[in-house]
Symmetry: C2
Subunit: 335 residues, 2 copies
């Protein structure tokens, strides 16, 4: 909109973005700070994203580095439902770092996935999440899979006395997400996972409000890396929209996040912010049991460590390797 | 998932991605063609996107160039509801290029926007869309705005004998989108606009199925430029998910798309493809009446030309400038 076409002084003053400062980085790039009117968001998740980066996303030389959100705006969004304390309560682990495994590959039958879940749960994991590739496919339809996996995990829990919590992956539109969340909860899954940049941020917020007692893990699929900084999107914004735990690629794995990005993301997810419950960072993406001590020293105890494929690669030794992982996490001494 | 951990031969054969070929571009980049099993999508919009670019979006050195979708998969999605023919029917223009204006800036009251809409409609536009920044904000709440703007356009239509069709912008989660679509339709708006990468692709598909007779314009906010090629995302995929018209930044405007990208996008939106109705390309983003002839020679008659801010900048001459635009489009002689 050409500024010259805006004749209303109230609009010029209150809804036109204002360039606060421009800092020449000296490498051909500039950090530009722009103020936007909070009223332009209408207190809605999608419109907030639209104001922050909607059309700017079309300019491939622009990245969204950070956003300083006023208290009045943050309180219009639900924030985590369970938060760190609620997730810990679910699995009866008040202080130690938590653990998570993953069910995959897609293509396995619901029965085969349930068998893997059983053997992983015998290894005393805190959470077992569906791979985000598990949706509602013919080879393992959502309801059949969730019912069978939940039953398998309950069986293992009865045998170990430990509580492993199942985190099924929800997909589709809001009707489908709600239906799946209800089904999952009815079958004993106390948490679910969604990918907000695929389902849409408005769907995350709606699900959070409809199911205040459900733990929500969020997955970074389609969240990109380069255009909105991960600490802002995967840390702060997802938390504000309702995530209890945020999965992201740890440094030194299959993906390219730097240690500093990971540290900032973890802090954005869990540090004190507008009185919102802390959510938990879940570093993942090619992690191994060998890295447990290093990761715990890096992230501290307020974390969920997630090992997916590397545990599954253990084949017949799946339960043993999982036990090695969970034992190592539980035994880690923080210096 | 390490391939070594996949022991099920059916999974290896049917759901593991297969690298078909790798072409060294000679500039340090490679074009890699990967086959995926169609069954992995479960016939769902979000999961299709997840399979195409979910985790790959996290690698900032990977772009999604194209996707060759089999007929059996494309027919699982709704495609355009009205398509080009239906949009033309709405405004009684069977062959000539179509025109569109935009209501903005946000911050104006519903009454002020309605007044602009009235004066734009007197200029005999085919469509007047809300700016995608108009959501459900306190200064022009959705229902109040849509009711007043629709009434203003109807008044202008009664005076000119021309049909201008209002395209309000819908925002929020699927409940809100449905409510707004119903409200808009009930107030005479035959089309609506949504930004699928903000609302979520699954929401677009759901809206399309729920409102088969509503024209849907899609907006590229948050659709990026660099990571999924615009012809694939804004052209083909949005069309397949239900868009009747797709708005995108024309070359030589405020944004950086090249002429070739624009041409490919337009062709992806409207060319024969799996028996799906053609949707219409809507080049926009800083366009002016001066560019009408050049744009029509470039895109041909199967197009909606959109001029937003440049018309609004005319101030008291708004109707006159709009008439110049629509007269020029109607009078263009294709060579």
């Amino acid at each position: 909109m050409p500024l010259s076409a805006i004749t209303d002084p109230w609009v010029r003053e209150n809804t036109v973005g204002r360039v606060e400062d421009i800092h020449d980085q000296g490498d051909g790039s500039f950090v530009v700070r722009v103020s936007l009117g909070a009223a332009t968001t209408g207190g809605e998740a999608g419109q907030l994203l639209n104001m922050l980066f909607g059309n700017s996303s079309i300019h491939d030389h622009i990245s969204l580095l950070d956003a300083d959100l006023p208290h009045t705006l943050t309180t219009e969004f639900p924030g985590p439902g369970l938060g760190e304390a609620g997730l810990r309560n679910l699995v009866g682990a008040p202080t130690r770092p938590l653990t998570c495994g993953a069910l995959k590959p897609q293509g396995l039958s619901s029965g085969a996935l349930a068998e893997l879940a059983y053997r992983l749960a015998l290894g005393r994991l805190d959470f077992i999440k569906d791979d985000h590739g598990l949706a509602d496919q013919a080879y393992s339809p959502f309801e059949e899979r969730v019912a069978r996996v939940a039953r398998a995990i309950a069986k293992a829990n009865a045998e170990t006395g430990h509580t492993t919590c199942y985190v099924p992956s929800l997909t589709g539109n809001l009707d489908q997400l709600r239906h799946q969340a209800k089904f999952a909860h009815g079958h004993g899954a106390a948490c679910v996972m969604i990918a907000p940049m695929i389902a849409g941020l408005p769907a995350l917020t709606a699900l959070r409000r409809d199911f205040p007692h459900l733990g929500i893990f969020v997955h970074p699929a389609m969240a990109g890396a380069a255009r909105i900084t991960p600490p802002l999107l995967l840390g702060r914004l997802f938390r504000m929209m309702g995530a209890d735990a945020t999965i992201f690629p740890n440094h030194g794995g299959r993906f390219g996040y730097s240690p500093q990005t990971c540290r900032e993301l973890a802090e954005a997810a869990r540090s004190e912010w507008h009185g919102m419950a802390p959510s938990l960072p879940v570093p993942a993406g090619g992690m191994t049991t060998e890295r447990v001590d290093e990761m715990l020293d890096f992230y501290g105890p307020h974390v969920i460590l997630l090992i997916g494929g590397d545990l599954l690669a253990a084949g017949p030794r799946l339960t043993q390797e999982t036990l090695s992982f969970t034992t190592k996490v539980a035994g880690h001494v923080f210096v």
